[in-house]
Assembly symmetry: C2
Homo-oligomer: 418 residues x 2
């Protein structure tokens, strides 16, 4: 197979299909989503069989247990895929809404119409359920998609691709509106991220290494999130009970998620009130603590944090703790070491809350809430294809709107430029 030639065919077919999908009705796209759902529901045996091939191959080649876990299409995961398609079909259609229509001095009326981006390339790890999720969000928002999952999931993805094709054909949408790259050759990724003539945006999902490599090599705009070094700052004016429950929830509710707190910042006056109790809670949960010198003065048994700790995304039951003079230093710390993902202040002080919201340069800034709430569903977006820590286009959780942009529409009755 000539990879270059193959990817050009995939790309140009996606470009052609994107025009048809963009022009299609809300009803047709929803019907297609439900047809894909039915196809998946009716192909459970085939999906399980294909997935078993991937799993066996994965075990033989010695994949780690968490990787095998993510690769597995359990009946519950297939249920979730099927249910997810119904949910996405039920969401409001973001496409073709017109906002801010206003009349200008010349008499023209000017507004902004929301339109699909065109062709979206998604590169992700060996998680076949992501194939369905990404396909459904792209299709719902009127885009064509090129999906490239990890090579370990090729058999599962090929089986899913058949269901996608069936669904699209059921409503006469081109089956090339959602394409699953049919090769595990890495050259396909290199080509996919360098075809601006066919691909409008790349969304990489996965480990930091993968995302950094793709961002640096891409010739196409990238919507990405590199890492989530999230902070909770307990202000000296915090409600101490609330501070303890938020700092506990933000760390221990789940360890491997990008919106989990990785560093706890505490204003000196609050430190002796909250740290001993938090240390007990974290000890019970099995969280390893690493603190600055001032933290160690209160919690002498924990490890001294190094400079590296402040920039680390542990994704594990490890937490770094720093005691600071107050708000100024907290903002400075977050803007220096954070990853512009999600940061929260716990305070009862109005001015401190406003300063934090304004000056912390992150995609989500919170007052008195757990960082774990930074999520497309919790934010009411209805869906989430990822969380962007970029500054252009989409910041924070990216839902259907993030897969669209706005063009200007001008309604005139003969206006000229004078």
């Amino acid at each position: 197979m000539d990879i270059d030639q193959y990817m050009i065919e995939v790309g140009s077919a996606a470009r052609r299909a994107s025009r048809v999908v963009a022009a299609s009705s809300t009803k047709d796209r929803n019907t297609a989503l439900l047809a894909v759902r039915d196809a998946l529901d009716g192909a459970r045996a085939a999906l399980a069989e294909a997935n078993a091939i991937d799993l066996e191959q994965g075990r033989e080649s010695g994949l780690a247990v968490p990787v095998l876990d993510r690769l597995e299409l359990t009946p519950a995961r297939i249920d979730a895929m099927v249910e997810g398609l119904s949910q996405v079909a039920a969401l409001p259609d973001p496409v073709r809404s017109i906002a801010d229509m206003r009349t200008m001095p010349s008499g023209i009326r000017v507004g902004r119409m929301r339109v699909p981006l065109g062709v979206i390339g998604i590169i992700y790890e060996s998680r076949p359920n992501v194939t369905v999720e990404a396909a459904s969000l792209c299709l719902k928002s009127g885009n064509a998609a090129i999906l490239r999952g990890g090579s370990e999931s090729i058999a599962s993805n090929t089986a899913i691709a058949r269901c996608l094709k069936q669904g699209l054909q059921a409503v006469d949408l081109p089956h090339t509106a959602v394409q699953v790259v049919a090769t595990t050759d890495r050259a396909a990724v290199a080509r996919l991220i360098a075809m601006p003539e066919y691909v409008d945006v790349i969304i990489p999902r996965g480990g930091k290494g993968l995302i950094e490599r793709i961002s640096s090599d891409a010739r196409v705009p990238v919507i990405k999130h590199l890492d989530g070094v999230c902070h909770v700052y307990i202000d000296e004016h915090a409600d101490l009970g609330m501070a303890i429950s938020i700092a506990s929830n933000a760390k221990t509710q789940r360890y491997g998620t990008c919106n989990t707190m990785e560093t706890l910042l505490v204003a000196e006056p609050a430190a002796k009130e909250v740290l001993p109790e938090l240390a007990r809670i974290y000890a019970d949960a099995g969280v390893e603590l690493r603190g600055c010198a001032r933290t160690l003065a209160l919690l002498p048994d924990i490890v001294l944090a190094t400079e590296e700790d402040w920039g680390e995304e542990y994704l594990a039951p490890i937490l770094s703790i720093r005691v600071l003079d107050g708000l100024e230093q907290a903002i400075e710390h977050i803007n220096t070491y954070g990853s512009m993902h999600t940061d929260s202040i716990v305070t009862r002080d109005y001015a401190h809350a406003m300063r934090f919201l304004q000056d912390v340069d992150s995609s989500s800034v919170m007052v008195n809430a757990s960082t774990r709430l930074a999520d497309g569903f919790e934010y009411g977006l209805g869906a989430e294809i990822g969380i962007s820590t970029d500054k252009l286009h989409a910041r924070g959780p990216v839902g259907l709107e993030g897969l669209t942009s706005q063009k200007f529409v001008v309604l005139g009755d003969g206006q000229l430029r004078s």
Copy 2:
């Protein structure tokens, strides 16, 4: 001078300054703009002197007359620069407004706060007035800026840079909030577009060659517009008088602008009604016509257009004309040969107008209006730093809002993730 070292210093100073500017008050930024205005107003003699050096050097090195014209800081241009600063200071501040604040089922309130992008790099040709315009829009929107003008304008830009510095220091904003690159070495541009750690977005302004080179080499997101191949489509249901006045204005009101019509599309039934009269108007204005075979059947004296003509941005008194069956072919033609800039339909038919608005994939789509109206001022944006033909972030005229993005703000009272 070690260019790499110099650009790292410029970049890191801009990054530090961007935090201060982003946190500064609307009043401080407006006061700085007015102080820059006063500094420019008081430095007319020095500006004229510096500009004379550039002009002399330019003449000696044989610059073309239009280039010399753009390089010149006439008293009228200095007036416009001074006046422009007052106008920008008077615009509403886009920064820190909060939109769409809604309460979610968990009880958190979620909204979006408009925030500066950070550090904006602007690369442009030898037009010293752009230095002031770009500086003012970046500063107004709370961003730090690194400005790199064409090498032929270095003396003028250095004189302007002194005024910028004076104005910024008058309100205790860091003078590094707007920096003019002090070297004409091209290596500085290569470095500027490859420092994602210091620069958040690059806006190139100038010829297509420059912009293509920058886009392909940049390691930083780029807001750009490559070219303006704009169309007017005269539908068979057009008001013929309106069609003639729009097609005439869109071409002849100005030739060198990106929103000037370059190709006129006419539905067959309307062609014989409008083309002969339009041909007379264009002949009077000295516009050269190049037509398809069906056009030549009506206007036998004009040149036959080649395939290249359909994709050409003439920026000159040349127009290509194509007669088509109707709307479908017009949309197909525009989406194939256009540059996704600005396209207009002239029609009295409601369904045709809606189809055109929906299916033409351009940053501005118009009904019954001249393409020349695609402009930040005509659209009520108050200012314009350029027109984007990209799909991500900003499409169409880019005003102050285009130099900002939105982060999520979450107001809670102790909410946790369950």
